[in-house]
């Protein structure tokens, strides 16, 4: 089976500063891969490279076997690769419910002209999506915020909302950039449960995360970056015992911290 994501020898420099340097990794289909590393390790840059927010200086990316060219963001989403952002980016001026619905955009079968006619077909489609969106909101305990302006939600709620919105896009590969940053413990637990559910449905998930207990609890594979270079990749257990990782992460051999600061 082809990998969901295959990066080979990716490099990106800003000015003279190398943000990602000769990084290769594979995200197998159906896996939940976590990317960890200290601040400035190049984690978000990797995300931006595989979604064409930045163009790589060197190297190539393959998404489900197909080489990534200079597609626009929406074309990458159309390939089934959907991402969230490091800071919550819900759409202001829309309710939480509408934000989740917006994620289903690619799968609408009726175009604007049909929607204006508001035919039975459109009504049925909207109703079907509404049920799905409400179910997702309930799943993470946000149902009571359904009709609230999305920006009125607590920050943790907004980050969860962004994940739901991405899920409505029915991704084959879901890229989550620090989904647990700003979440309280209860919300983090909701997130962990949600991630397991998502992987259970066969969606490949790649997540940049600082929260170690979350990563170690849900990931199949962990990729460790430091200063733009790949340190190692392996199972959570192997990573926890890897001396290089501990050095990169805490700078000294004091064992692995349960919660690395985010």
């Amino acid at each position: 089976m082809t990998a969901a994501l295959e990066a080979s020898r990716l490099s990106k420099a800003f000015g003279g500063l190398s943000a990602v340097d000769d990084v290769s990794f594979i995200v197998p289909q159906g896996s939940l891969t976590a990317v960890i590393g200290p601040n400035g390790a190049g984690k978000t840059t990797v995300f931006n490279l595989v979604t064409n927010l930045y163009q790589a200086d060197k190297g190539e990316v393959r998404l489900f076997g197909e080489r990534l060219g200079n597609e626009r963001a929406w074309q990458i989403a159309a390939r089934g690769v959907v991402r969230t952002f490091q800071t919550a980016r819900v759409f202001p001026g829309m309710t939480a419910f509408e934000n989740v619905l917006a994620g289903a955009h690619m799968h609408l079968r009726s175009g604007p002209a049909w929607q204006m006619l508001w035919l039975g077909r459109v009504r049925r489609e909207e109703a079907r999506l509404a049920i799905k969106a409400e179910r997702l909101l309930e799943l993470v305990g946000l149902a009571r915020f359904r009709d609230a302006p999305a920006t009125d939600l607590p920050i943790g709620g907004q980050k969860l909302l962004e994940v739901l919105r991405a899920l409505m896009a029915r991704p084959r590969l879901l890229l989550l950039d620090e989904p647990a940053a700003g979440l309280n413990d209860a919300e983090t637990a909701e997130l962990a449960a949600l991630l397991r559910t998502v992987r259970g449905t066969g969606v490949t998930v790649m997540v940049v995360e600082h929260n170690m207990s979350l990563v170690m609890g849900v990931a199949d594979q962990v990729i460790v970056l430091d200063a733009g270079r790949l340190v190692t990749a392996g199972t959570p257990r192997a990573i926890q015992q890897d001396k290089r990782v501990i050095e990169a992460y805490v700078g000294q051999e004091e064992g692995f911290p349960d919660h690395a600061g985010g």
Binding site: T51, L53, V82, F85, R89, T95, A102, P149
Partner: protein, 625 residues
């Protein structure tokens, strides 16, 4: 060249306020005129000595600007997005212009030259002495600015506000005070510029629009926020206009300057004279985006809609003939504002050229049916197509521009169309208008009475509102609202940002063109000021006062601004003033518009009436949110 100096001075004011607050302050030009008109009153009516009159006029202008700035501009800074601030300052401009109309009337005024009429002869050329005064004042102002910003602590503090307001606040700088100071300082130099130019150019209450636009073009040419850029841009513009007026045609001199501006905005949005240090223009402009969420769902909304349609159909039976005419105009303008709501309220793209699309629609349909004898319906269809094409070209050209830069691009486009309306005498009838347009007809039926026209417009409105409501409450509307604030996140969800932006532009232009052609057929006449840039601003005001992003809400704004002045004739003098005041008040007090305000009251009342039963059962306010 002399006019150019004044453009430069106004441009400096723009640059100053922009540098300190990141806002493009369109009220600038009004202060020029206020200064000049006050000076006239002091000098000619009250017979004060000239220096005293000038000092008094500057003082009056600054006092007025400071007071107004303190209650409107400064408090709004922390609440409104940059594009909303732009509109707010347009409101201040309109308000001040309208106020001057009330106080000084519509006559042009001219001041006597400071040092006599006799020109001096210099190397064989006669030069009016006022020229020296203008050049001298400009030079002093420029040097003063240079000194302020490079040599004083205050200058550094002002600068810090622009670079990073939060950090400036933390360093103990009183940011609101600095903003007010920049606003007042800009008004000071504007009034000086106005007083100096008044002897060679007669000014009237609405000359401020001209100075605002020219000053703004200067600063946009030179580079927003750059003092040297503003001055060089002003001088360049003054020279360019004179050359164009001399060699091409005075009617097209504006078009020339505007074409220069459009080209600059498109190829070098940061201006011609800026090197190195540049502002990022790709950051999310609307960080302070705020829009109340007004949603009417459920049975209540359907009932309201049915009732509204019934009232709409019954109205002609009860109202007077005069009022019926005003209702037709209201309806026609509402069609144009509906389009603007899709563009601004949903897609979040500021469009200051709705009047221009009305002009394209009105003139194309009018000319085809008058000069070429086309059937009106074919003329309308062709006009709509022409506007669609123009909109797509404009939208493609301005795709990269966001927020205020987009507003400026569309404004420039609108002004170019304005000057074509007036300039192409043989085709459009020039400033005196296109006459002899036949009534609208479909087949054998002519819509030549107010009543038939009313039903045509009302029918169109019902169809359009239903279609747009359908589109806006489903995927189309969500996609537009998504690109409104976050194009990157929208793209990541598979929304083709370019396509939806173009769609929003197209819908707004098509509806404006439709409105414009109906307007021409209704009046059987079309003149440039009926569909010019002031009309664009008026439509924006109507939309914002009525309620953005609600489709039906803007009808309230259109009706208020159209019906009130016709119903109460004595208010006509105050119309401009009231428009400005309403726009400013809407931004400050009722950001969700009249419609949103009413919806909020209704939903509160509904919740209270149904009481705790509903609250406990299903979560309150779901029906009327």
């Amino acid at each position: 060249m002399l006019e150019g100096s004044v453009f430069a001075v106004v441009g400096l004011g723009f640059a100053l306020v922009f540098r300190v607050t990141d806002v493009i302050n369109l009220s600038q030009g009004a202060f020029c005129v206020l200064g000049a008109l006050s000076a006239y009153t002091f000098e000619e009516t009250l017979r004060w000595p000239v220096p005293l009159a000038i000092a008094g006029a500057v003082l009056v202008t600054v006092a007025y600007a400071t007071a107004l700035g303190a209650v409107t501009f400064v408090p709004a800074l922390s609440r409104l997005s940059h594009s909303s601030m732009l509109m707010l300052t347009a409101g201040i401009l309109t308000l001040t212009t309208g106020g001057m109309l009330v106080l000084w009337g519509g006559d042009p005024y001219s001041l006597p030259p400071l040092s006599g009429e006799r020109p001096v002869e210099l190397w064989g050329i006669h030069i009016t002495t006022q020229g020296f005064w203008i050049a001298g004042t400009t030079l002093v102002i420029v040097l003063g600015f240079w000194f302020l910003f490079t040599r004083t602590i205050l200058g550094k503090a002002l600068q810090a506000c622009a670079e990073n307001p939060m950090a400036a606040r933390l360093m103990g700088i009183d940011v609101p005070r600095m903003a007010l100071l920049s606003f007042a300082l800009a008004a000071t130099i504007a009034s000086l510029g106005g007083i100096m130019i008044a002897p060679i150019a007669s000014l009237q209450f609405d000359s401020g629009n001209y100075f605002t636009i020219s000053g703004f073009i200067s600063v946009a040419l030179g580079g927003m926020g750059s003092f040297i850029g503003a001055v060089s841009g002003g001088l360049l513009l003054g020279t360019a206009e004179q050359v164009a007026a001399g060699y091409i045609s005075s009617l097209f001199s504006d078009a020339f300057a505007l074409a220069l501006l459009l080209a600059t905005l498109l190829w070098r949005p940061r201006g011609l004279f800026t090197l190195g240090r540049s502002r990022r223009i790709d950051v999310r402009d609307d960080v302070l985006f705020y829009q109340a969420i007004v949603r009417l769902n459920g049975r209540g909304a359907v009932l309201c809609g049915v009732a509204a349609v019934a009232v709409l159909m019954a109205l002609p039976l009860v109202v007077s003939d005069a009022l019926l005419g005003s209702l037709v105009i209201t309806g026609i303008l509402f069609i144009g504002v509906l389009g603007l709501d899709v563009l601004m309220g949903y897609a979040g793209q500021v469009g200051l050229c709705q009047g221009a699309f009305m002009a394209i629609g009105g003139y194309v349909a009018g000319i085809l049916s008058t000069t070429y004898g086309w059937p009106p319906l074919a003329g309308v269809l062709f006009a709509v197509l022409a506007a669609l094409l123009a909109a797509l070209v404009l939208a493609f050209a301005t795709l990269r521009l966001r927020g205020v830069y987009l507003a400026l691009g569309t404004l420039a486009f609108g002004l170019v169309i304005d000057s074509f309306d007036a300039g192409m005498m043989n085709v459009t009838g020039g400033p005196s208008g296109l006459v002899g347009i036949p009534p609208f007809r479909i087949g054998a039926f002519a819509f030549d009475s107010d009543r038939s026209m009313y039903y045509l417009v009302a029918g169109l409105i019902v169809v359009l509102v239903l279609a747009l409501l359908g589109g806006m409450r489903s995927g189309f509307g969500r996609a537009l609202m998504a690109i409104r604030t976050d194009q990157m996140a929208a793209g990541a969800l598979g929304i083709n940002v370019v396509r939806y932006k173009l769609a929003a532009f197209a819908i707004s232009a098509v509806l404006a063109a439709l409105a414009g052609s109906l307007y021409a057929f209704y009046f059987r006449f079309l003149s440039p000021e009926m569909v010019g840039t002031p009309r664009s601003f008026e439509m924006v005001t109507m939309l914002i006062v009525g309620g953005e992003g609600t489709l039906v809400g803007s009808l309230l704004g259109v009706a208020l601004l159209t019906l009130l002045p016709t119903m109460v004739q004595s208010l006509a003098l105050y119309k401009t003033f009231a428009e400005g005041l309403l726009l400013v008040l809407a931004f400050l007090c009722l950001p969700e518009g009249m419609f949103g305000g009413i919806a909020r009251l209704v939903s509160r009342a509904a919740v209270r009436r149904r009481g705790n039963r509903l609250m406990a059962e299903a979560g309150a306010g779901r029906e009327v949110q």
